[in-house]
């Protein structure tokens, strides 16, 4: 039974904590922010109604402790927990403990998190929902693997069932290497993820990462809020995201959006989620990759073109209001592009560069939005993700959004730590990127031409 939400525990940090607090302020909801020792003086800690220290700097003993987070919610009288992204956001254990303790989890059910968290299971859910998947499948014995590999054809990928975000995958260019790569991948997966299972998959030479933002009411009704193109990636980490996906054929786009909705409808998905697809440019086909059962880093580009506050919708769905929006309410206009600003040094192979931000000047202006927790004097601790800000530009069309974003980055200044700001400017200035619709190999080629 849905209950009113008056006070939310935020089990996260950084920019997303600030982002959630802002929406709660607008909704008149009180916030309790979990902080580690390293984050006691963060911007989020100052903005929240109250901050509670849940543990030492090490995330394993603070932001990743399910019991501590739920205890903090109970001890501070919170009705609900917002997990943000990363950390505990896709841990079924947290959703389940919340269910047991009568605390509202702002997100999907534990069963839904489990259904999409296991890659093999998600894949069979996709097949059942008539959503195309990459040709391939799980393999046990070497003989099984060889037979399937012949069917898929080279090149192909060996992927760890427990992997994700680009971790635990290997490319096989020649099928004679299959046996040895399989052995290695399985051993590595066992060590890294505690699960040695692997599967094979067609390797798409020229692919784009296109994903669909969804909202579900938990009772079978799902709407989409358009797609996002996140093909500018370095080692499978997204750096630039935008909506709409440039030059995507209209008919393909319609099929892609419908497929995503079908997938989530079948699960009676609750809350905000994203279905990720690999778009095979040469074949004009798309394949289901995975579903992320959380709010995503790149959600602002969708918010900019739809004028819908996705965090507010998450809270509404978890609360008594429910999902009030219908598909007819979603009418995206214009284009939005986001750059992730990371505390990392492109000149020394993108090494993280924690430290103190001695001074900072974030851009402003028409169509410009900055989501960040970094103010002059802010510390970037070495224990967490290196992303310190997202700079987003909206425009009536892609060209104007790109122009605004380029100008905004030119007016950004971050002192005291190394960042990828100049590297992002180089990406935006690239003629291929300006044309739009680059594939996931774009950044590798850019770095091969001229290292950062």
């Amino acid at each position: 039974m849905a209950k009113p939400i008056r006070r939310i525990l935020i089990a996260n940090r950084g920019e997303i904590a600030v982002r959630i607090i802002r929406t709660c302020e607008a909704l008149g909801i009180e916030t309790v922010l979990c902080v580690s020792e390293a984050d006691r003086h963060s911007l989020g800690a100052q903005m929240a109604t109250r901050a509670v220290c849940i543990g030492p700097s090490s995330p394993a003993k603070s932001y990743l402790s399910v019991e501590t987070v739920v205890q903090a919610a109970l001890g501070t009288g919170c009705d609900a927990i917002h997990p943000g992204y990363g950390f505990l956001s896709e841990r079924a254990e947290l959703a389940r403990l919340c269910e047991q303790e009568g605390v509202t989890f702002i997100g999907p059910t534990a069963a839904q998190i489990e259904a999409v968290g296991d890659k093999l299971r998600a894949r069979s859910e996709a097949i059942a929902a008539d959503v195309p998947v990459v040709p391939g499948g799980p393999v046990g014995s070497p003989a099984e693997a060889r037979a399937l590999a012949e069917q898929i054809g080279a090149p192909l990928l060996v992927k760890a069932v427990g992997g994700g975000g680009g971790r635990g995958m290997k490319l096989v260019e020649d099928l004679t290497d299959l046996d040895s790569v399989m052995d290695m991948a399985s051993a590595e997966a066992g060590a890294a993820f505690g699960d040695p299972r692997v599967y094979l998959e067609r390797y798409v030479a020229k692919g784009r990462h296109i994903e669909v933002q969804l909202l579900g009411d938990g009772e079978g009704r799902v709407i989409h809020l358009g797609e996002r193109d996140c093909s500018v990636q370095r080692r499978y980490q997204k750096l630039v995201e935008e909506t709409p996906a440039p030059h995507l054929p209209a008919a393909t786009r319609e099929r892609l959006l419908a497929a995503a909705v079908r997938f989530a409808e079948r699960l009676s998905y609750r809350g905000a989620g994203t279905v990720e697809f690999l778009y095979d440019v040469e074949r004009d086909e798309f394949y289901f990759l995975e579903m992320n059962a959380r709010i995503q880093v790149e959600h602002p580009v969708t918010e900019e073109v739809t004028e819908i506050d996705l965090i507010a919708e998450q809270i509404a769905i978890a609360s008594v209001q429910g999902l009030a929006l219908t598909q007819a309410d979603i009418a995206p206009t214009g284009a939005a592009i986001e750059c992730r600003i990371n505390a990392e040094d492109p000149a020394s192979s993108f090494m993280p560069s924690p430290g103190t931000v001695t001074d900072v000047n974030w851009p402003s202006g028409e169509g410009i939005r900055v989501d960040t927790h970094i103010v002059p004097g802010a510390k970037v601790p070495p224990f967490y993700d290196s992303m310190i800000a997202k700079i987003i530009a909206y425009g009536p069309d892609r060209a104007s959004a790109l122009q605004r974003l380029s100008n905004a980055l030119a007016n950004t200044r971050i002192e005291g730590i190394a960042t990828n700001l100049a590297f992002q400017r180089r990406i935006l200035a690239d003629p291929d990127f300006a044309r739009g619709g680059v594939d996931t190999g774009f950044l590798t080629r850019l770095l091969e031409r001229e290292p950062a």
Partner: protein, 179 residues
């Protein structure tokens, strides 16, 4: 019969779940008036301490003699949602205590208990002697009991942690005068 604090909190919960803004209850000579303050009434402190002084609900309990007495000592002129309030915790980075006292801090966030079981005497009292490995309390995290130890040898001078209340990681539980 009288209304306990727990009763009042339950009534507050009922009001909150209802679509009414105000509730007046009169029974056995006790009059209880509750009013829903609505959203967005909290104020952020300008000091930037991150701790809001959230007001208690406008709660008055009138006795049969008609003399209104505030139930809560800490009342402000602000109205607030009919909900148990967020009580700011003591500053986590308090200055070092005077007189060379040592702060014994909670090793984790949880509910602090001074005794091994309800009804039993506390592990330590003011004046107790402690060694570094003396158990001074229990921190419960989701039904898991963790011992908190003194970490210093000396005499307990002051006990700050409240039995049965949540303490944060690093919150000062007691002060010890070291040997």
């Amino acid at each position: 019969m009288t209304l306990t604090r727990k009763d009042i909190e339950e009534i507050m919960g009922l009001l909150e779940a209802s679509r009414f803004d105000r509730l007046a209850l009169e029974m056995d000579g006790v009059k209880l008036e509750l009013e829903r303050g609505g959203a967005g009434l909290r104020e952020r402190p300008s000091t930037g301490s991150g701790r809001a002084d959230v007001a208690h609900p406008p709660l008055t309990l009138s006795s049969s003699k008609g003399r209104a007495e505030p139930v809560e000592a800490r009342r402000t002129t602000q109205t607030a949602p009919a909900q148990p309030t967020l009580i700011p915790s003591p500053p986590s980075t308090s200055p070092a205590p005077a007189d060379g006292l040592v702060e014994v801090k909670s090793p984790l966030l949880g509910v602090f208990y001074r005794a091994p079981k309800p009804g039993e005497p506390p592990f330590v009292e003011v004046g107790s002697r402690v060694e570094p490995d003396t158990v001074i309390g229990i921190i419960e995290v989701m039904k898991l009991m963790n011992s908190a130890r003194a970490g210093v040898a000396g005499e307990v001078v002051e006990i700050l942690g409240v039995n049965g209340e949540m303490v944060e990681h690093g919150e000062v539980l007691m002060l010890v005068r070291p040997d």
